[in-house]
């Protein structure tokens, strides 16, 4: 599991546990005591501001994780051309050096394809999608040398599951 995925796993489990607590509190409250519906309706406005604040905080916290605008310009950059087709990948060159930024230029021949790289422990390292007539670029710097696996993550037809390839990362 990648670092981000682990954060999601923990965060989602905690929030789901809170949902279960809310469910229990509401379920056990029924037929016990009473409340003033007018007061609750009035407080709904407070809840609106709480939700807006939470969403705003999440937005600020995650906006820097947007991967679109890469800042790894400069010397030493390696370029890998990828063509995804039904049903395989052509990756040139299929070996890159660790520690230096790699720019992938991903193209798709006939239909939409995905281009996902997994490390030797099957952790998702990066993914983008590619469509015909367009070039999708993505920059990544590999830290660990080793053999990486490439899969297609956009459904592309009867051989989708067979689109498997490899990328070597050397020292």
């Amino acid at each position: 599991m990648s670092e981000t995925a682990r954060i999601l796993a923990v965060g989602f489990t905690i929030t789901t546990a809170l949902v279960v607590v809310v469910a229990f509190v509401v379920a056990l409250s029924t037929n016990r005591g009473s409340m003033d519906p007018e007061e609750a309706a009035h407080r709904e406005r407070t809840w609106l501001w709480i939700v807006l604040a939470l969403m705003g905080a999440l937005l600020i916290a995650t906006v820097f994780a947007i991967p679109y605008f890469d800042d790894a310009e400069g010397a030493g950059r390696q370029t890998v051309r990828v063509e995804a087709f039904q049903f395989g990948f052509r990756i040139e060159p299929d070996s890159v050096a660790a520690g230096e930024p790699v720019e992938f230029e991903v193209r798709a021949r006939e239909v939409n394809h995905g281009f996902a790289i997994y490390d030797s422990r099957d952790r998702l390292v990066l993914q983008v999608q590619a469509m015909p007539e367009r070039v999708q670029e993505v920059v990544h710097t590999f830290e660990q040398p080793g053999r990486y696996r490439v899969l297609c993550l956009e459904f592309c037809g009867s051989g989708h599951q067979a689109m498997v390839s490899q990328l070597r990362v050397t020292r």
Partner: protein, 634 residues
């Protein structure tokens, strides 16, 4: 039954009842059929009832479109007629005609979808992402793609007729509008009376809350469906005029411009049902301030302004898409508002009320719980930095099954348990069976979705007929969960049949509160336990403990240099070869090849028959390696 329905014009009541029963009959049959397809798909992945790859994707297409629109969509569209009738809005004249037209368009369209997928091998998935329908790799032809597109066009047409029919109904005399203008009445139906009571005056009563979400979604789906309808017409034309082309980026945007709000075609009517039934079962009015109308106004606008969160990983060079996607993250967050405020209203309507735990009320309550949880996983999808990790993984599958089956689905089930006795004029056959059905569906469905969510975080891709090596499928847990869901639907079917037959009512044995708490507790414990077990297992696994290494050790020691070439060149797509774990059937199996390494090298270099030449794609060394690998049988 409410007072409003009692005072409804008998002819309008008759037609509302008839429309609801017609939609529900077909959608319930679709529910059972697509449910069986779901079981089949999961069993095939686990090698219990293996189908070939294209058949798997064809069944996946039928399951997706069928369950989403044919069951959940069609069911809530039908229930909407009865919800409106229950608050005094009966279908009149033109709107009623459109209600019947909707039924036939949807039914015929669904039949077309089933025929083209199950019988004619169309397998481009329910999103039929252009140009895939016309690039089938020989599995189906363009005519089939045309018939499929025409079928979906009929389904789209049924959404349009339903929307106009609903709008015609909600602007009816039951609004008690002081001003007669059509825009004024539309504003009233959108709940503007709660915000601007003087401008949007009513006499005597305000618009009932269930009307608001139905009005919002009817306006939005007209806007969202029209571009897709044009796209489908172009696809039908392309099926016999292949030179017609559409820009793939534009096509993808059009698809998701429809594909996003269509989710709300399920959710918003479900909210209307909750707005009607939760207050009725709690014995008090909906706890809602006028801020609810603000949320629905936001929903009306945001719902047709956002779609690109489905395209966060498409940002090709020289296009505007990266900026569009970035802008769509905060816009997508806005759609959280109607859900968050509705959940607040509904939970507080139940809180400390005289809520009774019947099959129906339990279903609706658990639907709220699932909605809350599925909303949280939805926020993850809406966040670009998170989506990079979960996009097109099983996380997404876990998210939308929780949303569709356990939120919208349980609302439909709860509504059926309340409305069927009203519609049929006889009580539910067994209340206890209903409760078992609801609890088992919730328990099995929650475990099922939780597994998918975790598998997604592990990076396991979705829409794979067979999971790639190295990704655990948690077979025992998953198949048990699927079995529990399936068993629950058998109980449902028995209860439905007995109720419709008018069998003598079974006495209820009291509310299973203890069982209920047990199930919630168990599910609550399973989630963190699964997480803990997962993290520990993952962290302690040996480096490279996945499939690739495992396969190597089985064949003894060092991996053959030809194995990498075999995988990389995609030989396994067409050829079955045991040592490489490939199952392709396009070319001959390599397991029993009698050719020598030299002969194989020649075929690889020069091609033979349908097999392309690889001489210019692979180096001489690679060809020698792969030939030796195949000749030696690994």
């Amino acid at each position: 039954m409410t007072e409003a329905a009692a005072t409804l014009d008998p002819v309008e009541r008759h037609h509302a009842r008839r429309l609801t029963l017609m939609y529900l009959s077909v959608s319930t049959v679709v529910f059972f059929v697509t449910g069986l397809l779901g079981i089949w798909l999961r069993s095939s992945q686990s090698d219990l009832a293996r189908v070939d790859d294209n058949t798997w994707y064809a069944l996946m297409t039928a399951h997706g479109l069928g369950a989403f629109l044919g069951w959940a969509g069609f069911a809530v569209m039908g229930l909407a007629w009865w919800v409106l009738a229950s608050v005094g809005f009966g279908p009149r004249g033109f709107g009623r005609q459109l209600g019947y037209a909707t039924f036939w368009l949807m039914t015929i369209g669904l039949a077309g979808v089933i025929v083209t997928t199950v019988l004619m091998h169309f397998a481009a998935s329910w999103v039929f992402l252009y140009p895939l329908p016309f690039e089938s790799a020989g599995e189906w032809n363009d005519t089939t793609a045309g018939i499929f597109s025409a079928s979906v066009l009929l389904v789209g047409g049924s959404i349009l007729t339903w929307c106009v029919g609903i709008l015609h109904t909600v602007v009816g005399p039951a609004l008690h509008a002081v001003r007669p203008g059509i825009l004024n009445r539309l504003g009233l139906a959108l709940g503007f009376g709660y915000l601007w009571p003087k401008r949007f005056a009513t006499n005597p009563s305000s618009v009932p809350y269930p009307v608001i979400p139905l009005t919002v979604i009817s306006i939005d789906m007209i806007i969202a469906t029209l571009p897709l309808a044009v796209m489908l017409v172009v696809m039908v034309i392309k099926s016999f005029a292949p030179s017609v082309e559409v820009d793939p980026l534009l096509a993808k945007n059009i698809l998701w411009f429809f594909g996003h709000p269509v989710v709300y075609l399920l959710l918003f009517p479900a909210v209307a049902i909750l707005y009607l039934l939760v207050p009725r079962l709690a014995g008090r009015a909906l706890v809602a301030g006028n801020v609810v109308s603000v949320a629905w106004l936001v929903a009306l606008i945001a719902n047709v302004s956002i779609w690109a969160h489905h395209m966060y990983l498409d940002y090709p060079e020289g296009t505007f898409q990266a900026h569009l996607n970035t802008a769509h993250q905060p816009l997508t967050y806005l759609i959280v508002l109607p859900s968050a405020l509705s959940l607040y209203s509904l939970f507080f309507t139940i809180y400390r009320s005289s809520w009774q735990w019947t099959a129906a009320s339990t279903a609706l309550f658990l639907a709220l719980v699932s909605w809350f949880s599925a909303g949280l996983s939805g926020i993850v999808n809406a966040t670009i930095g998170f989506d990079v990790v979960v996009h097109n993984t099983l996380w997404i599958v876990g998210h939308f099954h929780q949303m569709a089956l356990l939120n919208v689905g349980l609302v439909i089930i709860g509504a059926l348990y309340v409305f069927l006795p009203e519609l049929l004029g006889r009580p539910l056959w067994s209340e206890a069976l209903g409760k078992w059905h609801v609890w088992l569906t919730f328990a099995g469905g929650s475990v099922n979705s939780a597994l998918w969510l975790y598998q997604g975080l592990e990076g396991t891709p979705r829409r794979f007929s067979v999971l790639p090596e190295g990704f655990p499928e948690y077979r025992a847990a998953a198949l048990t969960a699927v079995g529990v869901i399936a068993f629950a639907q058998v109980l449902f079917a028995v209860n439905l049949v007995q109720t419709i037959r008018g069998a003598e009512r079974r006495e209820s044995r009291g509310a299973p509160v203890a069982e209920a708490l047990l199930v919630i507790g168990a599910v609550a414990l399973i989630l963190p336990a699964a997480l803990a077990g997962y993290v520990i297992g993952r962290e302690t696994a040996p480096e490279g403990g996945g499939g690739a290494a495992a396969a190597t050790t089985e064949t003894g020691g060092e991996e053959h240099p030809g194995a990498a070439v075999f995988a990389e060149a995609g030989c396994g797509t067409c050829h079955t070869f045991g040592p490489a774990g490939s199952t392709g059937t396009i070319g001959p199996s390599l397991d029993e090849t009698q050719l020598s390494a030299a002969q194989i090298a020649q075929v690889v270099s020069e091609g033979r028959g349908a097999m392309p030449a690889f001489g210019d794609r692979l180096t001489r060394q690679q060809i020698t390696d792969v030939a030796a690998y195949v000749a030696e049988g690994g």
